[in-house]
């Protein structure tokens, strides 16, 4: 053996294996290419998805959520582990290429990494390999010993995924080990032969292995070197080809998935991308009924899921024992794809998804709260898929009986209760209220710049009507020239759309858009976050929309609203973020600022707040249909408030109010917990001009009489 002078010059120890290594390269690369090609097949058959716009914004997402691993630390331990692993992988990429090439081209030097740069890089990679290896060990221990709850697989969804996870983690550890052994053996060999030794980072894995090998014979080192190289190459290619068969496929697909992630918030995908509303009747089938009805991006989502369970861990439906667990929506679909689009042979029979892969109740269980999407580090989308599956069920006439009535009522009366249109503005006619705060209807005779869009719950539910009155009083107090649409207003259709009845939604939307345009209003205010979200994201070409909490917050700044001190200083308040105000529209601070501006008001934060707020259960026509569950979401939420030490829950959504007040009764906490809407509280605490006429917010509750009386 000739002595080698330069550390970067490869020894001829690998020479004998050159053909073998080349063969493995070829097999590995062609295998991987074939596998990826087969994985792309279903995507080619899928529905289109328009994700090629706004490249800068998309790159931004890749940088934020990919490179900066933005969402990972939400689960501290696993998040930090993953950041290290990811960083380690990034550092090791170039090294990996180098090691692979070295087996066939012995004198290979990575361009740009000869000399000093190369040394520095090698130090980095030594530590990277060590860190990754350690993380693997920790991860395996977590899986086997600590068993975090979110990884568990409920019986109905099959066997635990632990074995597979541990196997993959172990393989990566082996890869790091092989790589380190490779470096260690070479360094040891160089030392023994008196050559310049490639410096190994102190206390790194290769460094430690080198000390173990220090006393081995040269021929032993040669074998270890060769063996480590082979092990590395085989493990590398095995992992490369194995990853597309499981959760680790996210290594390849994640950056793409982040790039193609949804850019708009709060809205639902159209029935068919590229098909305008007017041409929808040409579409033969609405929604997702078979696997191929998903878009290619949704299929990419299925591939990209890392099975981390964070979505299901935050899903309120899952928490109350409903059949839905978002994680398994994805993994079941992925397994379906793998099974029905095999590596060899034709794609097999395409069954309907509902009834085979998913149960109806599983899909009806979702309240569209968005907690899953908020949590997912890979930006996997759920709401669009569930809405699409619902569209498919509705297209087939498969709607739970208890929901057919409100849908029919929405069609004929424009509200889910079936109440008369002409009574929609009755909330404003309560005797006392009408005298102090007349609300005008923008019917062509009356005009105003601001439209207060009330929506159905506030208009008809006799408890929620007080939110309407409070909101009107606030607008009146700040001198806003406003009006309502009255009987011309129909339900915003927000829940209808997320329920999957797109045609009915479009009818409601078109009617409302015409009415809003006819009113001439230049600004829209609403106290209902569902209406807010619909008007802002589902409707197009409307004047700007604000939620009442935003209005109150800005009028606090302007000084038009000042607050009196709270009556009872012992009350402890907590704010419950409504899903469609908070998570979907990211309005977290305005309502809190309003509460904090009330003198003497003690406020605490629940452990699940802001973007981790726990849904009250009100979304998706949930007031008319409940899947089987162990406990109600509202009840869980009310208990959370009590745990935080509060006895008053403040919310800013009539759906939330319905569920929370109900839950207080069901949980047996009447007398210990009360709920109040932000608008009601504001109206109650607002300092009025004249000191004499201090209406203490005694609002007359108007009973909706049983039909016929």
């Amino acid at each position: 053996m000739e002595g080698i002078q330069l550390a970067t010059q490869v020894t001829p120890w690998l020479a004998s294996g050159r053909t073998l290594f080349l063969l493995i390269h070829l097999l590995g690369i062609t295998g991987f290419a074939y596998i990826v090609a087969m994985r792309l097949v279903p995507l080619l058959r899928a529905q289109r998805d328009l994700r090629f716009d706004r490249p800068l914004a998309r790159v931004g997402k890749v940088l934020k959520f990919g490179l900066a691993q933005w969402k990972h630390p939400r689960y501290r331990v696993a998040g930090i582990l993953h950041i290290f692993i990811f960083a380690g992988f990034i550092c090791l990429v170039i090294r990996a290429f180098y090691v692979l090439i070295v087996g066939v081209s012995e004198n290979f030097v990575m361009p740009g990494l000869s000399g000093e740069a190369g040394h520095v890089y090698n130090i980095i990679t030594d530590y990277s390999a060590t860190v990754v290896f350690l993380c693997m060990v920790i991860a395996i221990v977590r899986r086997l010993v600590f068993k975090p709850a979110r990884y568990a697989v409920p019986e109905k969804f099959g066997k635990a995924h632990t074995a597979d996870a541990v196997f993959l983690l172990a393989l990566i550890a082996v890869l790091m080990l092989a790589d380190s052994l490779f470096s260690a053996a070479r360094a040891a060999g160089q030392a023994q032969q008196g050559q310049t030794v490639e410096v190994l980072a102190a206390w790194s894995l290769p460094w430690m292995l080198k000390s173990l090998l220090a006393s081995s014979s040269l021929s032993a080192l040669k074998d270890v070197y060769f063996g480590a190289y082979l092990l590395h190459e085989v493990t590398f290619y095995f992992l490369l080809c194995y990853r597309p068969f499981g959760i680790q496929f996210h290594v390849e697909t994640s950056l793409f998935n982040l790039y193609f992630a949804k850019l708009e918030r709060g809205t639902v995908k159209p029935v068919r991308y590229g098909v305008s509303d007017e041409h929808l009747d040409q579409v033969k089938s609405f929604g997702v009924k078979t696997f191929e009805d998903f878009t290619w991006k949704h299929m990419l989502d299925f591939y990209s899921c890392a099975d981390c369970g964070r979505c299901s861990d935050n899903c309120p439906a899952n928490a109350v024992g409903r059949p839905l667990s978002p994680r398994f929506i994805t993994t079941k679909a992925r397994d379906y794809a793998f099974q029905h689009y095999p590596m060899f042979g034709k794609s097999t029979n395409h069954q309907p998804l509902i009834g085979n892969l998913y149960s109806e109740d599983e899909i009806w269980s979702c309240t569209t709260c968005g907690a899953c999407e908020e949590e997912c580090p890979l930006l996997v989308e759920y709401i669009d898929k569930i809405v699409d599956l619902r569209r498919g069920m509705i297209d087939d006439g498969n709607v739970p009986q208890s929901l057919q009535k409100p849908l029919k009522a929405l069609e004929s009366r424009g509200n889910p209760y079936g109440k008369l249109e002409k009574k929609r503005a009755d909330w404003a006619n309560a005797k006392e209220f009408r005298q102090t705060c007349p609300v005008k209807t923008l019917d062509g005779k009356n005009h105003a710049d601001t439209l207060y869009f009330v929506d159905s719950v506030t208009s008809y539910d006799d408890r929620m009507q007080s939110i309407g009155r409070a909101t009107a009083k606030i607008l009146d107090h700040v001198g806003e020239n406003f009006g309502i649409l009255g009987a011309a207003e129909k339900d915003s259709g927000h829940e209808v759309r997320r329920f999957g009845e797109e045609t009915l939604f479009m009818a409601l939307r078109d009617h409302n858009v015409d009415a809003i345009k006819a009113s001439g209003a230049k600004r829209i205010v609403t106290a209902d976050p569902h209406a807010f979200n619909a008007l802002k994201h589902d409707y197009k070409d409307l004047p700007p929309v604000e939620h009442i909490s935003q209005v109150i917050a800005s009028e606090l700044k302007s000084g038009k609203i000042k607050f009196n001190a709270v009556e009872n200083v012992d009350d402890v308040y907590t704010y419950h973020d409504p899903c469609y105000l908070g998570r979907h529209n990211q309005i977290y601070d305005d309502p809190r600022n309003v509460l904090d501006a009330i003198p003497g008001l003690k406020r605490v934060e629940m452990s699940r707040s802001r973007d981790r707020s726990f849904c009250c259960g009100g979304g998706g026509l949930a007031m008319f249909y409940e899947p089987k569950e162990e406990e109600r979401m509202g009840v869980k939420r009310v208990r959370m408030a009590a745990e935080a030490g509060a006895n008053v829950i403040v919310t800013a959504c009539p759906f939330c109010m319905v569920n929370i007040e109900d839950a207080i009764k069901v949980a047996g906490m009447e007398g210990k917990m009360t709920a109040i809407d932000l608008a009601e509280l504001t109206e109650k605490q607002m300092m009025r001009e004249s000191p004499v006429v201090e209406t203490k917010g005694t609002v007359e509750i108007q009973q909706e009489s049983v039909a016929g009386r």
Binding site: D281, F286, I394, D395, D396, G397, N398, V399, Q401, L403, Q404, K405, L407, K408, A409, E411, S412, R413, G418, L420, E421, K422, E501, E502, T503, L504, A507, A707, G708, R709
Partner: protein, 263 residues
């Protein structure tokens, strides 16, 4: 199996508040929402389920005018194969027997194995099905809440009787059945489905197509006529019962019995 379902368009009782008009001679019809009579909808769903298993066609027929076409379309959006409108000036003002007479001539024009009606409509008559069967000399069963097709031109049916019990009988085809709500879970018909059948042609049958004697139907032939509508006594808020518990119970029992609350 050729199945005919006789349906009717009625003011939807759950989405309307029924009040008298200002003249006091009819209910206020201006803002009424109409839909297919609920038991008739269950009948169509049942018919669709039967032909899904046994093969055949479902035809939905209604006696009325142009406005009534919409329920035919709705049932066709649900899956009915044919919709037929029976309309003629001569038919207006018919009482239940008149309607049954009209339907009888239509049934005899076709070759139906099974004729279904809903148990009753908004007027609570519960008559057309039974009358139709007697006119056709077909066997009849009312309040049917289960149907099973047997071999040999027979059905096994369940009827709803007192106490939630079910009376099981065998009935020969062809027959007439009046269907009770709850027999099945009707499939949902969305706006999209209804739009899809919006322009399907619907044949109209009048006096000449049916070959019916106009003297036998219509207002002149009607023996039962509604004279007016009026509102029953209304109460404002609850009448609170006072007195000892025994007195209260006595009074309550009397009131409830008068309303038909005791069996």
């Amino acid at each position: 199996m050729e199945i005919l379902v006789c349906a009717r368009r009625v003011p939807d009782t759950s989405e309307n508040e029924i009040t008298l008009n200002s003249a006091g001679n009819d209910i206020e019809r201006d803002e009424l929402v109409y839909s297919v009579n609920e038991p008739d909808n269950y009948a169509v769903e049942e018919a669709l389920q039967i032909v899904a298993k046994a093969g055949g066609n479902v035809t939905v027929v209604t006696v009325g005018g142009e406005d009534d076409e919409e329920i035919l379309r709705r049932e066709m959006a649900m899956g009915a194969h044919h919709g037929v409108l029976i309309s003629d000036e001569a038919f207006s003002g018919s009482d239940g027997r008149g309607i049954a007479t009209i339907l009888k001539t239509f049934v005899q024009k076709g070759n139906y194995d099974l004729v279904l009606t809903g148990v009753q409509a908004e007027d609570g008559g519960a008559q057309v099905g039974g009358m139709l069967a007697a006119m056709l000399d077909y066997p009849f069963a009312s309040l049917v809440n289960s149907i099973e097709v047997l071999d040999g031109r027979k059905l096994k049916i369940g009827r709803e009787i007192a106490g939630g019990n079910r009376e099981i009988s065998e009935i020969d085809l062809p027959c007439v059945l009046s269907i009770q709500t709850g027999i099945n879970e009707p499939r949902y018909v969305g706006m999209r489905g209804i739009r899809a059948v919006a322009s399907v042609p619907i044949p109209t049958y009048g006096v000449s197509e049916l070959g019916i004697d106009p003297g036998a139907v219509g207002e002149a032939a009607a023996r039962v006529k509604r004279v007016d509508y009026f509102l029953p006594q209304l109460g404002k808020g609850a009448e609170m019962l006072e007195g000892s518990r025994e007195e209260v119970i006595d009074k309550l029992v009397e009131l409830v019995a008068a309303k038909g609350g005791l069996k």
